[in-house]
């Protein structure tokens, strides 16, 4: 019988020898993980630390405890507006863009390969068009050259131009439309690929079992076998829904009227890049991180229940 301490010693030795044997693996991982640590992990850990300090990039950070967080929740009305806008924005664009990716991918996949290729490009193009979304600014323009205003006025729906981008009641709506326009990106491609990969024989078997139309096929055959893609798509869309910023700042201006297009990320930009109150900006970032992680946790649970993963 070996004593417990010797057993542990042997385990440690075998772990060490496994690590030494895998040194080639670690060497190959090193370049990526060094950069990953430097530009993703370290910033997040650093932000967690700085969120408890007062820091302006020049002086040494001064520890202030929970002051930033207290200020954020009790003393910064603008943050509450930003949080509220981000929440409304994410609750609307997240699900819509997710289902738009899924539904358009599904419909496109029903067509023949040539049409499928063309339509995939048409729907995917906005997400790789860079700054082209500024063109929506002209379409929604509030002056007499705005196409939407002209169109609605000539049809008689409105009597005078609507200030789409400066009216606090409409601007968030415009940003939502543009974000959805741009949101058929990586998850959309992932869904198209997932749909093409479903085993063809499943459909024939399902037809024998009484599946009578395309919608039933989608619900009973396709979706259950696309679990991994559905999870991946959710991760990508949640990340995008909470991080909207450049669309807001470009279309609605910065700051926007009554802060109507202020989101958490533009609030971070305001404190970080404009006022250089880094400690406070980092506290806002931490709240956003926690928010995204918890939403993701809930959504992943729901999806694992719907599909076999």
């Amino acid at each position: 019988m070996m004593s417990a301490s010797r057993k542990r010693q042997r385990r440690e030795w075998s772990l060490l020898s496994r690590i030494i044997r895998a040194r080639g693996c670690y060497a190959m991982l090193a370049p990526f993980y060094i950069l990953f640590f430097m530009f993703i992990i370290l910033p997040i850990l650093g932000a967690a630390f700085l969120s408890f300090t007062d820091f302006n990039m020049l002086e040494i950070p001064a520890f202030v405890g929970l002051e930033n967080y207290a200020r954020l929740f009790f003393d910064d009305d603008v943050f509450l507006i930003a949080a509220n806008n981000t929440f409304i924005f994410a609750v609307i664009t997240g699900p819509i863009s997710y289902f738009a990716c899924l539904i358009f991918a599904w419909l496109i996949n029903e067509l023949n390969p040539k049409l499928r290729a063309i339509l995939t490009f048409v729907f995917y193009a906005p997400s790789i068009s860079g700054m082209l979304f500024v063109m929506w600014g002209f379409i929604f323009s509030g002056d007499m050259y705005g196409y939407l205003n002209y169109f609605l006025m000539s049809l008689g729906f409105i009597n005078q131009p609507v200030q789409w981008l400066t009216n606090s009641e409409t601007v968030l709506g415009v940003v939502i439309v543009v974000q959805i326009w741009m949101s058929l990106g990586t998850s959309f491609l992932s869904f198209i690929a997932g749909l093409q990969n479903v085993d063809r024989q499943l459909y024939e078997a399902a037809a024998v079992d009484g599946v009578r139309n395309r919608l039933q096929e989608l619900l009973y055959v396709t979706l259950p076998s696309m679990g991994p893609q559905l999870l991946f798509g959710a991760v990508m869309q949640i990340g995008a829904a909470f991080s909207v910023s450049s669309i807001c700042m470009t279309l609605a201006g910065f700051p926007s009227t009554d802060n109507a297009a202020l989101t958490i990320v533009t609030h971070i930009y305001d404190y970080g890049n404009v006022r250089f109150e880094m400690g406070y900006a980092c506290a806002v970032s931490m709240v956003l991180f926690v928010l995204i992680l918890s939403v993701n946790h809930v959504i992943q649970r729901i999806i694992t229940r719907v599909a076999d993963v």
Partner: protein, 288 residues
Amino acid sequence: MPKQQGGRHLGVNRSLAGDILIFAVLACFGAFMLLPFIYAIAQSVKPIEEIFVFPPRFLANHPTTENYRMLSQLTDSLWIPFSRYAANSIFVTVVGTLLNLIVASMAAFPLAKYKFPGSGFLFHIVVMALLFTGPVTALPQYIVVAKTQLINTPWAVILPTVALPLGLFLMKNFMTQINDAMLEAARIDGAGIFRVFVSICMPLVKPASFTLVIFSFQSLWNSTGGAYVYEEELKLLPTILNQIATAGMSRVGPGAAAAVLMMIPSFLIFVLLQSRIIETMAFSGIKG
């Protein structure tokens, strides 16, 4: 594969009427998706008097190349030669894309095909990091870049994109599909992990490599450099084209022309490699 799909196309539960309905729906939404593109192209070929005509017209009546010529005049008269901005963007895009491909593939291979202490954890944190898009980590990342000596060098733009989790994630999932017997044969012949990676793995994952190249290319090509480079000699193409476009009402035409020219490379690459991308994305799933 295509034959099989052709067979399914009008197979069980399919009707021509259904196909036509689906196409009609997609055509309507497709028109909405294309609206800004058509608008940008139309604006870029409108003579200036048509841009400011009231009531506004969507399409051009007398298309002209005037705006493109004006754009090239504007870019000729810059303080710093235009070719400098273009060269900066090309450098950042090409070097960044190559580095991203090499570094991400190298890390993906051991994670896909070897078991070693920490492999599960290392992949798991990359999957978690998929959640945090650029804008969310931008500020903390800026602090790190500013505290190193990277700020105001092209590397400040390149290196953060090399560490993006999506590249490693896609390569790893694709590499998992490689047949183990082939790798085993090479290992028995005495090839080390790096040799196996270069001579067996990489040739087999070409579709995934192309996909990574496209994602990386389009994000770097559209990158403005933001706060990372501030010296005029180092600024990137989108920055200067935005400056030209926003310089006033008379620049609406040339601005649209610049936007049209900027999007061509990304689109061209996507169209050429579309089928390869779809193939890669088939393995993009996350197992719960």
